[in-house]
C-alpha cells in the first residue's frame, strides 16, 4: 500500500509504484477533474499541486509521491469559490474546457509565487500549458483579475 494525502484526506492505494499519479487520481480515487492530455509532460492538462508546487501528474509515479500532499481542482472547493476559479468564470475562459483544470492549477501556482505578474511573467509560466481552442488572451485576463482580487482582499 502506498500512502499519500489527497485534498486533505489520507489515502492508501494498492498499486505498482510506477503507476502515474494521474492514473491513481482518476481510476483509483475517482477524482476526474485532472485530465490526460499527452502523457509526456508536453501539454500541462494533468497539472496538480504536490506539496504546494505545480507538477505534471502524468510524470509523477505514485511511488515518488508517497507521503506527500496532493491537491487537485476538487480540493479547491470549499465554502467560497477560489479567486482564480471565480476569475475563470467571470472571464468565461473555457471553450471546450479540456485543458482548463491544468491551466487553473498552474495559474494558482504562478500567483502563489508572483502576486501581480506581468504579461511576460504570465506567458513564461503558462507556456507549458497548451490550449487548442486558443483561449490564451482570456487566460491572461483572468490571471490579472484574480491577482487584483487577491490584492484587494489583503
Amino acid at each position: 500500500m502506498i500512502e499519500l494525502t489527497v485534498n486533505g484526506s489520507k489515502q492508501a492505494v494498492d498499486v505498482v509504484p510506477e503507476m502515474p499519479l494521474l492514473w491513481v487520481l482518476r481510476d483509483e480515487l475517482g477524482l476526474t477533474s485532472t485530465k490526460y492530455g499527452c502523457g509526456v509532460a508536453q501539454c500541462g492538462a494533468c497539472t496538480v499541486h504536490i506539496d504546494g508546487k505545480a507538477v505534471r501528474s502524468c510524470q509523477a509515479h505514485i511511488g515518488e509521491v508517497a507521503g506527500k500532499s496532493v491537491v487537485t481542482l476538487e480540493g479547491l472547493a470549499n465554502k467560497e469559490q477560489h479567486p482564480v476559479v471565480q476569475a475563470w468564470i467571470e472571464h468565461q475562459v473555457p471553450q471546450c474546457g479540456y485543458c482548463q483544470v491544468g491551466q487553473i492549477m498552474q495559474a494558482i501556482s504562478l500567483l502563489a509565487k508572483i502576486s501581480r505578474p506581468t504579461d511576460e511573467q504570465i506567458d513564461q509560466v503558462m507556456s507549458g500549458n497548451l490550449c487548442r481552442c486558443g483561449t490564451y488572451p482570456r487566460i491572461r485576463a483572468a490571471i490579472h483579475a484574480a491577482a487584483a482580487r487577491k490584492m484587494a482582499e489583503k
Binding site: 510506477e18 508536453q42 508546487k53 507549458g128
Partner: protein, 213 residues
C-alpha cells in the same frame, strides 16, 4: 522537557553530520580506487583519454544543460541530431533550477526510478537543474571545454582527483552523469559507458590533464 528535546535534536544533528561525513568518505574511498598514480600515464595516452572524454561531454545528453547565463536548456529530440531550444518557453533562471518561473521539477521528477521512453522527460535522483554558468559546454570546442574542466575557478574548485570524486558522488545520488547512459528508450547515449568515462577521467588525471593544442 525543553532541555531533553534540545538534546535529542542535537544528537540527531550530530548523527546526520556523521552520516554525511561517512557517506562523503565512502565516495572519496571509491574514487581513490579509481585514481592512478600521477605520471603513470603518458601525455599521448592522456590526450587519447581526453578525446574520449570530449566525445562524452559534447554529446547532447551531457552538453544540453551546460548552457550560458541565458539559462535556456537545449533539446535534441529522440531520432534527431540538430539541437533546438527547450520547448515551453523554459528558462532555468539565475537559480538554474527554474525557481523564478517554471521549476525544472514541474516535469522532471526527482527520483531513483528508471527513465521512461522518449519523449517523457528524464528523471534523476537529484533535483533537475542546469549546470552552473561557469561550466558551459554547449557550443564550445573540445579545447575550450578541456581548459574549463581542469580550471578549479570554473569547475567548482576541484582538482583532478576531485573531478573523479564528483563522478562517483553524482552516481551515489543516482544523478545526471550515469543517467546520461540510461536516458530512456529512444534517446541516443554518449559513447562508451559510465565506468569507461570514470576510467578515462582517471587516466587523464594521471597524465596531468593534457589538453589539445
Amino acid at each position: 522537557m525543553k532541555i531533553s528535546l534540545v538534546a535529542w535534536i542535537l544528537v540527531g544533528v550530530a548523527i546526520s553530520a556523521v552520516t554525511g561525513i561517512v557517506a562523503a568518505k565512502d565516495e572519496v574511498k571509491l574514487a581513490a580506487k579509481d585514481l592512478l598514480p600521477p605520471g603513470s600515464v603518458s601525455r599521448t595516452d592522456g590526450l587519447a583519454a581526453w578525446k574520449r572524454i570530449e566525445a562524452v561531454v559534447t554529446h547532447p545528453r551531457c552538453a544540453n544543460c551546460h548552457v550560458d547565463a541565458k539559462a535556456i536548456p537545449i533539446w535534441t529530440p529522440a531520432g534527431e541530431t540538430k539541437p533546438r531550444v527547450h520547448g515551453m518557453n523554459i528558462h532555468g533562471g539565475e537559480s538554474r533550477i527554474g525557481t523564478e518561473a517554471v521549476p525544472c521539477s514541474t516535469c522532471h521528477m526527482t527520483s531513483t526510478q528508471a527513465n521512461e521512453p522518449a519523449p517523457s522527460p528524464p528523471r534523476a535522483g537529484i533535483d533537475w537543474q542546469l549546470a552552473p554558468v561557469a561550466f558551459i559546454w554547449f557550443g564550445k570546442s573540445g579545447k575550450e571545454i578541456c581548459a574549463q574542466i581542469k580550471d578549479p575557478k570554473r569547475n567548482g574548485g576541484r582538482d583532478a582527483a576531485g573531478l573523479v570524486e564528483h563522478l562517483r558522488h553524482d552516481a551515489s545520488l543516482n544523478g545526471f552523469i550515469p543517467r546520461g547512459w540510461a536516458p530512456g528508450e529512444g534517446r541516443s547515449t554518449p559513447p562508451g559507458t559510465f565506468e569507461d568515462h570514470v576510467k578515462d577521467m582517471a587516466r587523464w588525471a594521471a597524465a596531468g590533464q593534457p589538453c589539445p593544442n
